[in-house]
């Protein structure tokens, strides 16, 4: 089932009056339950593409559909609500709120949705226990390792049961063991709960785990293939 569809999407930045084409006429689709890695060199436009898919950024031209709803024409307020209710974000530098505990960090997005305290707490604990942080529920991020912080970030991204999760280089700051653990955990969530993951990465280990790989270069999709059946997607 098609979850995300980009049609002829381009993004041009104009820093200091010089036009930079970050995404160049990209058309691409993502289906429910995909585990997709977008790979490419720094500056290839991966993050911009993810931001456009996630509704953080808007394209200069083209159309973005999520569940057949065009999101690039939503008002800023509607787009914020859309992100809150439909997308989970995982950032390279975790970006947890340092003053809140692991549980509170996971609860936060559900609070934004106006969910009741008991429901929030139960869901946060359930997720943190599921990702192996049952002993760290009341620890603040500063007391957690990088890998543990990124796990909390994954739990936060999944807390509100989003339609898909966008992860921008989620393993960039992790050591090998943490990367391995995190990838395994995301794979399990993908397989057991059918969560759609789309992440950008430089990390070959991530690419190795991905079911689908999109190679991005100079703002364009250079290659797009699914590993299991070696099926090439139409570019």
């Amino acid at each position: 089932m098609k979850v995300i569809e980009l049609k002829n999407v381009s993004k041009i930045y104009n820093p200091k009056g010089i036009a930079v084409q970050a995404v160049n006429n990209v058309s691409i689709e993502f289906s429910q339950g995909e585990f997709t890695a977008i790979v490419g060199a720094s500056g290839s436009g991966k993050t911009t593409l993810l931001n456009i898919i996630g509704g953080i950024d808007t394209p200069s031209s083209g159309e973005v559909y999520v569940n057949n709803k065009q999101i690039n024409q939503l008002s800023e307020r509607k787009l914020t609500e859309f992100r809150r209710d439909n997308i989970g974000f995982i950032f390279q530098q975790y970006n947890l709120l340092p003053v809140l505990t692991a549980t509170e960090n996971v609860e936060f997005i559900m609070e934004l949705q106006g969910k009741p305290k008991t429901e929030r707490e139960a869901r946060a604990k359930e997720l943190l226990i599921a990702i192996g942080l049952g002993e760290k529920l009341n620890e603040r991020p500063s007391k957690l390792s990088g890998g543990q912080q990124q796990r909390v970030a994954v739990a936060r991204a999944l807390a509100h049961k989003p339609k898909f999760v966008i992860a921008d280089e989620p393993t960039a700051n992790l050591d090998s063991k943490s990367t391995e653990d995190l990838l395994q955990m995301m794979q399990e969530l993908n397989q057991k709960e059918g969560v759609t993951f789309i992440f950008s990465t430089h990390d070959q280990r991530v690419v190795d785990k991905a079911k689908r790989v999109i190679v991005f270069e100079d703002g364009k999709v250079k290659e797009d293939y699914t590993k299991n059946d070696n099926e090439k997607h139409k570019i």
Binding site: F89, F91, L100, R156
Partner: protein, 400 residues
């Protein structure tokens, strides 16, 4: 949780928050204490002047205030008194004969204003009796009694029971004089009043000068806040032959001083508030600057602009609440302690009518004004950096 988050955010940089909270604490304590003390000085001065010198309203024959002419008496005074008494809000009336006079003792002489009063009436509008430091107040049993100030007594070398000769212009324009006996010596907070005033009985001055009618009617009103209303009612029952003036007209320098004190108080408070405002602005700017990435993340995951804005306002509000409420409590405590023990200030300010010891009172209006200022300052000042936070673009903030 945004409340909890705002609260916890305050303590992320304890030193910075402590500095701002301390500034607000001290600023509000000092502002509240200073404003109340200044207001109390001004109010005490006003109360003294009104209760000793003029009362709230005075009625004169038109032209008397300018010329002090002894023949400018109030026509049909009994009828005027009767009409004024019936006005709602008028508490009591005292009639005065007022004349410039020369008061002489064997040692010296001075020029002063002598007032003839009916003791029973005067005691209802004046608190001069409370400032008699030797002897007693006027009564009907004494023989040609007079009250003089301590300053006059010292200058003329008078003691209780001393005789003093008062010379003034009579009703027929001739100079007349009589002997009075000192029955009381007073010392009020106002040096000019003490140096220039002596008080005798109405009947004695009437007899001495041949003046049959009073020069002024001093009126005490029940509710000082209705001064203008009562003044207007009095004026409406009298014709144009009479002048009805309030204390602000009769004591212009006092009114100007009160306005000046209020202005200084407001200026002082504005300076403190501006200082606090800059401090708050600086603190909030640093908060937004430091947390740009975090605020971008919050916007990215779905926190609405208004929610980010209100979270920052809450942080500013909490810091201000802690500092201001503590400062206001300390200020109230200072005022309370000072109202019990008094604050000694220079004796030399008597020429301004200021008492040597001030007992500040807590003015609820000032307390309200300070509290409103704290709220308004927080909302206005912190809204500027909070608004800046709304312009943060998540995609840019997260990239940096």
């Amino acid at each position: 949780m945004t409340n909890k988050l705002a609260w916890k955010n305050i303590w992320r940089n304890k030193t910075r928050s402590f500095v701002f909270i301390s500034a607000a604490f001290l600023g509000f304590a000092i502002a509240l204490f200073t404003l109340n003390t200044m207001k109390s000085i001004s109010q005490q001065r006003l109360d003294d002047a009104i209760n000793i010198q003029t009362s709230y309203i005075q009625i004169h024959k038109k032209g008397f205030i300018e010329d002090k002419e002894i023949t400018f008496t109030i026509p049909d005074a009994d009828n005027v008194i009767s009409k004024v008494k019936s006005i709602n809000g008028v508490e009591s009336i005292s009639k005065h004969i007022s004349s410039n006079a020369v008061m002489a003792s064997p040692e010296n002489n001075i020029v002063c204003e002598i007032k003839g009063v009916v003791p029973e009436q005067e005691n209802k509008i004046s608190v001069l009796k409370d400032f008699i430091i030797e002897g007693e107040q006027l009564n009907d049993l004494q023989k040609t009694p007079i009250l003089v100030s301590k300053k006059t007594a010292d200058k003329l070398k008078l003691k209780l029971k001393s005789k003093v000769v008062v010379t003034l212009k009579s009703a027929n324009g001739e100079i007349t004089g009589g002997t009075f006996r000192v029955v009381g010596i007073f010392a009020t907070p106002s040096t000019p009043f003490d140096e220039g005033t002596a008080i005798a009985r109405y009947n004695d001055l009437e007899l001495l000068s041949g003046i049959k009618l009073p020069h002024e009617l001093a009126i005490k009103i029940a509710d000082p806040s209705k001064l203008k209303e009562v003044q207007s009612k009095i004026q409406s029952v009298l014709n144009n032959e009479y002048e009805v003036n309030d204390w602000m007209y009769l004591l212009p320098e006092l009114f100007a001083f009160d306005s000046f004190i209020n202005m200084i108080g407001v200026l002082f408070t504005v300076i403190i508030i501006l200082g606090l405002g800059f401090s708050l602005m600086n603190t909030m700017n640093m908060i937004v600057q430091e947390r740009t990435k975090e605020l971008g993340m919050l916007r990215a995951i779905g926190q609405k602009k208004w929610s980010v804005f209100s979270m920052l306002l809450k942080e500013a509000g909490l810091m201000m609440s802690i500092g201001a409420s503590g400062g206001i409590l300390l200020g109230v405590l200072f005022v309370y302690m000072s109202s019990k023990h008094g604050i000694s200030i220079s004796e030399g300010l008597g020429f301004l009518g200021i008492r040597p010891t001030i007992y500040p009172k807590l003015n609820p209006e000032l307390l309200g004004m300070i509290s409103i200022m704290a709220i308004a300052l927080t909302l206005l000042i912190s809204a500027i950096p909070a608004r800046r936070a709304l312009k943060i673009k998540p995609q840019e903030a997260l990239r940096d």
